[in-house]
Symmetry: C2
Subunit: 349 residues, 2 copies
DNA sequence: GAGTCACTGTACAACGTTGTGATCCGGAGG
DNA sequence: CCTCCGGATCACAACGTTGTACAGTGACTC
């Protein structure tokens, strides 16, 4: 373990700096010298001490990714994409879980743990618009998600309102008029729930459908269990409905479960559409229609933007907001009605 | 950003070492001095440079976790548990994805990227028993998974054979005799697939049921899609069967999908049991019976073992193998038959 | 033959921190 | 009055690396 440049230098009979030069591909080295050094490196099994290199260079080659919970499919898949994108740029990723808790998110932003990384990709869930200023941190930060807009940092996110509207209109186009909505956060204006609810309402309004409180299923958590609970609540009210827009796929799966328990057929009696396009959605029974929010693009863009901030700092300009394209993915739970190929009819952006 | 001990020391009018002492809770500091220093720290917003600290101390406070793919539910949930366990020990986690590819796994083991971490939790998938010796690396390493046994490192894993046998016996206890198996890796002896197949065969044998090649659905990948494909293959053979043991939950979900497409009712016509107890399993329709392999315990134990290796090195003794307890979780897809509470009947270990 | 230049290699300092030992001081003990 | 001790603080070196500045060594130009 303790093999250093010194050891290599001694064995090769050169100075420590020459070894360093060999490793860093400094051009002016005599082939004979290079060979001697390389042989010594191989013989001793030397590997550079990245900590020392980081200290010297000011760069660690690592970025941090903070998400609420990796056990949530959307964030697991996001993390998978981020790690892959980072690797392509030669970066490694340190993953933190906040549990979506505001205090932990605040603490994380202040934590010196990130002195070990070059920057942070932060998927906030507990923070709100009023917390925008705490994002003004002395290290590169790229915000993900939809809790804070127009903050002091770069922001990579999705078109929640437009996508939710498209999802709802997908149901309307299929002739559904009584569309329940699951996963609402009451009183929320921004945040995924607030924005997606807005898209839902816009779609109703655009088609002259009245908004009906009785079709709203609130649920703070967005797990399968809470989706099932919210759905059961709506079912218990006895109001008629023929479709469900769930604020994410996980909720949708819970809702489908509750519908089937209640003897409703999907999509015959009730069409269901979700949001996120998690892998799982295409293998459920029935397969889940959903919104593809452009996860890959978000991951790549977020890593790219962060890297630019790391390398160029404020020289890269003021804070940017980058929006992913989205698409309606029509599957069994809410098939497209007309024979126009769904891909053509539904892709937006 | 560039606030260092020097800056704090200058402002507080003390030496840099005194500031360091304050930060590290060195006992002999006059209260007045401590206060001066703390005020200077607050005023400048100083946070320690962890890279420098790491270089000096030889410890980074980070561990690496290498898994095949975070988009696979089991590994996402494992990572979630590992990160939580690490945090409880004051560690952060750097996550790598290998794609289950042998070459990438080999490269990862040699990579100096881990000089930035204190040790590695390695969930191998591409390596095999013959690669055991490459695990003999000059840094603390704890192996997860079931690709290599009796290697040169600590190993935290599950009781694959016994658990698979218990899963199969759960089906047999319900009166099923024609039990298909999905996700087999042909020719594999160890590895999850090999071991779980062995458990399956042991159960059949113990109950005098002949092993039938026609009921075997091979599949290298363990995704939903491959589960569905393997199941369709078995269905296409036209052989009768009344149950399925899937080598993991994801396969089981794919298999259930294929069964329902083919008009078979679960569990009436075909009972299904999986393996892993991913979160999702309890919310599918029908909910999935499965094996709970003790994921939390594995995560906690792996982190604890790695930490012990980091702190005590070889003084902690020779390589250990640690096995998690498991339990049969009976749900709708393969309910327990007798009225004995499943929890009592099924918990093993 | 002197001056210039490209090439090759070196010595030294620095990144920010902490361990080691030294120093200074006041008070207790002889 | 001197010694000794422990509290409080500091100077220095070191962790392993790389940037800067510089020193040789030839070869080439004029």
């Amino acid at each position: 373990m303790a093999v250093t440049l010194h050891d290599v230098a001694r064995l090769a009979g050169v100075s420590i700096k020459t070894v360093s030069n060999v490793i860093n591909d400094y051009p002016h080295i005599r082939p004979a010298t290079r060979e001697k050094v390389e042989q010594a490196i191989a013989e001793l099994g030397y590997t550079p001490n990245l900590t020392a290199r980081s200290l010297r260079s000011g760069r660690t080659g690592a970025i941090a990714l903070a998400v609420p919970d990796l056990a949530l499919a959307y964030f697991a898949e996001l993390a998978a994409s981020v790690i892959a994108a980072a690797e392509a740029s030669g970066l490694v990723v340190l993953v933190e879980q906040t549990g979506g808790d505001r205090d932990r998110e605040l603490e994380l932003l202040r934590s010196p743990r990130f002195k070990m990384t070059d920057g942070l990709l932060f998927s906030a869930l507990g923070l709100g618009q009023d917390d925008a200023e705490v994002l003004d941190v002395p290290y590169p930060l790229v915000l993900l998600g939809e809790r804070i807009f127009d903050g002091p940092t770069d922001h990579v996110t999705m078109q929640n309102v437009a996508a939710a509207r498209a999802a709802t209109e997908h149901l309307i186009a299929a002739g559904r008029r009584r569309i329940a909505v699951v996963g609402v956060h009451e009183g929320e204006v921004i945040g995924s729930a607030g924005l997606r609810l807005r898209g839902y309402r816009e779609a109703l309004e655009a088609h002259g459908i009245a908004f009906d409180e009785a079709l709203v299923g609130p649920s703070m958590a967005w797990h399968r269990e809470s989706g099932a609970r919210a759905m059961r609540e709506i079912l218990a009210r006895g109001v008629p409905f023929d479709a469900v827009f769930a604020m994410n796929d996980t909720l949708a799966l819970g809702a489908m479960r509750a519908l089937l328990e209640a003897g409703r057929r999907v999509p015959d009696d009730v069409a269901v559409i979700g949001f996120d396009n998690i892998d799982e959605a295409q293998y459920t029974v029935p397969s889940l229609s959903t919104i593809d929010p452009g996860r890959e693009w978000i991951a790549n863009t977020a890593v790219g933007t962060l890297l630019e901030r790391i390398e160029r700092g404020d020289a890269a300009g003021g804070p940017r907001t980058l929006l992913a394209d989205f698409a309606v993915v029509a599957r069994e739970s809410a098939p497209a009605v007309d024979p126009v190929p769904a891909a053509i009819a539904a892709v937006v952006g």
